[in-house]
């Protein structure tokens, strides 16, 4: 298991003034994302790879408490469509994401502790799609203690919770190759990253070329991992984004026609009235 020494802790305030060095904070680098603009959507394959990066790298420290496995199979989620095992090249989908075999398989990799209602004893059982993503720590105190005092933030809504959103998180993940400015002193376990407010954070670089084996021929570079995992986190922060934009289009068209009709009615009613 990879161990973060500590964390994103991007709560600006956590970088206490003593640690917040003079180093200038860089504005996040602007990146083109597939979901930008009024018609942008998520790329399912990218969300799947992003989930893999999250699970193999980030999940050892960062929880996603608000996500259930079933979310992965819901409309707009990474596994909404699966290849049809019976007809090559076609896709199938499941009205109830709890029946989605990929989602069931992912959930079953984890074990959960529960009270056996017969005996009152604790028992272990396999995960099911309705379960929440497991938290790497037993409690907040343990999360903080394991990371030099700074608990790694939960990732459920992380893209909404940082100014700069997806661009910021991508820049941060790839932003470790800068020389430490002279006025910045790093204590053991601290790292310099100019995208982090204050420049000094407890999480070190996490993404390295080739570290996460992709099943397809997508390039296995740190850049690609960063883009993929940020896409996954953006989806997780707002799983209904695609539905929102789709409905928005209909509503805008409706209101536009309605406005034109109201305008014509207005002209008609006022036609012979001086005002």
């Amino acid at each position: 298991m990879k161990r973060f020494i500590a964390t994103l802790a991007a709560l600006a305030a956590l970088a206490t003034p003593a640690l917040a060095a003079e180093g200038e904070t860089h504005a996040p680098e602007n990146h083109d994302w597939s979901w930008e603009g009024p018609f942008g959507t998520f790329d399912d394959r990218q969300l799947q790879r992003g989930l893999q990066v999250y699970q193999e790298v980030c999940a050892s420290c960062h929880s996603m408490d608000l996500l259930s496995f079933r979310n992965l199979g819901q409309p707009g989620g990474p596994f909404e469509y699966l290849p049809d095992p019976e007809h090559e090249g076609e896709l199938i989908t499941f009205a109830n994401p709890n029946d989605n075999p990929v989602v069931m398989e992912i959930a079953s990799r984890y074990t959960y502790t529960e009270i056996d209602l017969e005996t009152g004893e604790e028992m272990e059982r396999q995960g099911i799609p309705a379960d929440r993503f497991p938290n790497p720590y037993a409690n907040d105190a343990q999360a903080a203690a394991s990371n030099g005092g700074a608990a790694p933030p939960d990732f459920s809504v992380i893209v909404k919770a940082r100014s700069g959103g997806a661009d910021y998180i991508r820049s941060l993940l790839l932003g470790y190759d800068y020389e430490v400015p002279e006025d910045v002193t790093l204590l053991p376990g601290q790292h310099y990253n100019p995208y982090f407010p204050g420049g000094v954070l407890a999480m070190g670089p996490q993404l390295f070329d080739g570290a996460v084996p992709y099943a397809d021929d997508t390039p296995q570079t740190a850049e690609q991992y960063a883009e993929d995992v940020v896409a996954f986190l953006a989806w997780a922060s707002e799983p209904h984004m695609e539905q929102r934009k789709r409905m928005g289009l209909g509503v805008m068209i409706f209101l536009l026609i309605f406005a034109v009709l109201m305008w014509l009615a207005y002209r008609q009613v006022w036609a012979n009235v001086k005002h």
Partner: protein, 431 residues
């Protein structure tokens, strides 16, 4: 203009009801036949838009309250649950959050309209004052509503604002504790804020009825500020203003929908997607945009004033900025209502609008940041906000009272009809 009722019940049931509870008559006289000046422009559509938004806020809010959990351990997650798991919860939550902003856009335009056309003057003082009370209640509702999702800005905003009350001498600390229901912002505070947040919109709805009643006694003012004199000046509200208001409402809803569906979180703050944490203070605590001008006034007072500490002075200035609106009908001494015919007041008003926008800008910035800087010379935001705050009060307390005596108004049209038909020399420039 209270007018003679022209309603004639036609069907049996209408006749039966009319002699028991003439509610259909009331509706007919108020919204169908009501004589309305024929020259109302689009600035007069915001009252109707506000009524629509009050309804949107109440309906979406009632649904949100079915799923929201007012407890410090669950509030944040319950709002996320609404966005994620409740059917169309993302839509209703976005409508309610963005609806608050649009409600304020509309109310500010509505109020500036009143200031420009002198709609607060006799015989509409009570109408204006009811409006100011509505505005105060809107601010209270919006402030408490923002606390409910229990994010970092919710918590710290509530802490900063309730602490202001503590600045009042003698009673301050007691009142603050009474507001909190505890010795700090906590679960008791969250619970009472939820209760009051649910109550206030219905108080507003009641006041809106009084507001419209107070409107319908003297009747609408209009862009000329010349009162209605005869039949030729007015048109029945329906269909003339139902279509005009209707068109404006749909256009405004379109802009609103643009935000709800395409920019649902640009008006919010990223920190409010982080759950409240009393141990971590955000780097910048800023209120929602519609409070920024008052926040700037609050922070503009940086000096003690006799026995009044800077903090108390800021609080007094902030409340004074709203309080002065109550006195406005008696501060403005000019007999001319519309600023179309007030050559000096018009420019002072324009500067006033810019000052309000400028205060909003100052409220969003750190007071020590520089507005501009050349070489060694620059001006920090706190100084700009002091200048603008001074103008805000001078406008109401000096300019409007004095102009009443020194300004020479332009010639006004004899009547609304004359202004529309262009038979009066001053009628031409439509602004």
């Amino acid at each position: 203009m209270s007018h003679q009722s022209t309603y004639e019940p036609k069907t049996g049931i209408e006749k039966w009801l009319d002699s028991r509870l003439p509610i259909v008559r009331l509706g007919y006289d108020s919204f169908v036949d009501f004589p309305t000046p024929r020259n109302l422009n689009y600035w007069y559509t915001f009252g109707g838009i506000l009524a629509v938004f009050l309804v949107i806020q109440i309906l979406s809010g009632v649904v949100l309250a079915m799923h929201y959990v007012p407890h410090v351990d669950h509030a944040f997650d319950s709002v996320e649950r609404i966005r994620r798991d409740i059917n169309y919860g993302w839509l209703i939550q976005s409508m309610h959050a963005n609806g608050a902003s649009f409600f304020f856009v509309a109310v500010y335009l509505h109020m500036f309209r009143g200031l420009y056309y002198g709609s607060y003057k006799a015989p509409r003082e009570v109408l204006w004052i009811i409006g100011v009370v509505i505005y105060l209640l809107m601010m209270a509702a919006a402030f408490m509503g923002y606390v409910l999702p229990w994010g970092q800005m919710s918590y710290w905003g509530a802490t900063v604002i309730t602490n202001l009350v503590g600045a009042l001498p003698v009673v301050g600390e007691g009142i603050r504790e009474w507001l909190w229901g505890d010795f700090a912002v906590g679960n008791a505070t969250l619970n009472r804020f939820f209760s009051l947040h649910y109550l206030i919109p219905f108080l507003i709805a009641g006041l809106v009825i009084l507001h419209i009643w107070a409107l319908h006694v003297p009747g609408n003012n209009n862009p000329t500020g010349v009162e209605v004199k005869g039949k030729g000046d007015t048109l029945p509200f329906h269909p003339y203003y139902t279509v005009k208001d209707g068109f404006a409402i749909v256009v405004f809803l379109m802009i609103f929908a643009g935000f709800v569906f395409y920019l649902p979180s640009v008006l919010g703050h990223a920190d409010n997607s982080i759950e409240a944490n009393p141990l971590v203070t955000p780097a910048h605590i800023v209120p929602e945009w519609y409070f920024l001008p008052f926040y700037a006034i609050l922070r503009a007072v940086t000096f003690d004033f006799g026995p009044i500490s800077a903090k108390l002075g800021g609080v007094l200035a902030m409340f004074g900025a709203i309080g002065v609106l109550f006195a406005l009908p008696w501060l403005d001494r000019s007999p001319v209502k519309s600023m179309r015919y007030r050559p000096i007041a018009k420019w002072c008003f324009l500067i006033f609008v810019i000052a309000c926008l400028g205060l909003g800008w100052c409220g969003a910035e750190n007071p020590d940041n520089m507005v501009f800087e050349f070489g060694g010379i620059g001006m920090p935001f706190v100084v700009l906000s002091q200048i603008l705050t001074a103008y805000y009060f001078i406008y109401f307390l000096v300019i409007l009272p004095v102009l009443g005596f020194v300004e020479k108004p332009k010639e006004r049209p004899e009547s609304i009809e004359a202004s529309v038909l262009g038979s009066s020399p001053a009628a031409a420039p439509a602004e």
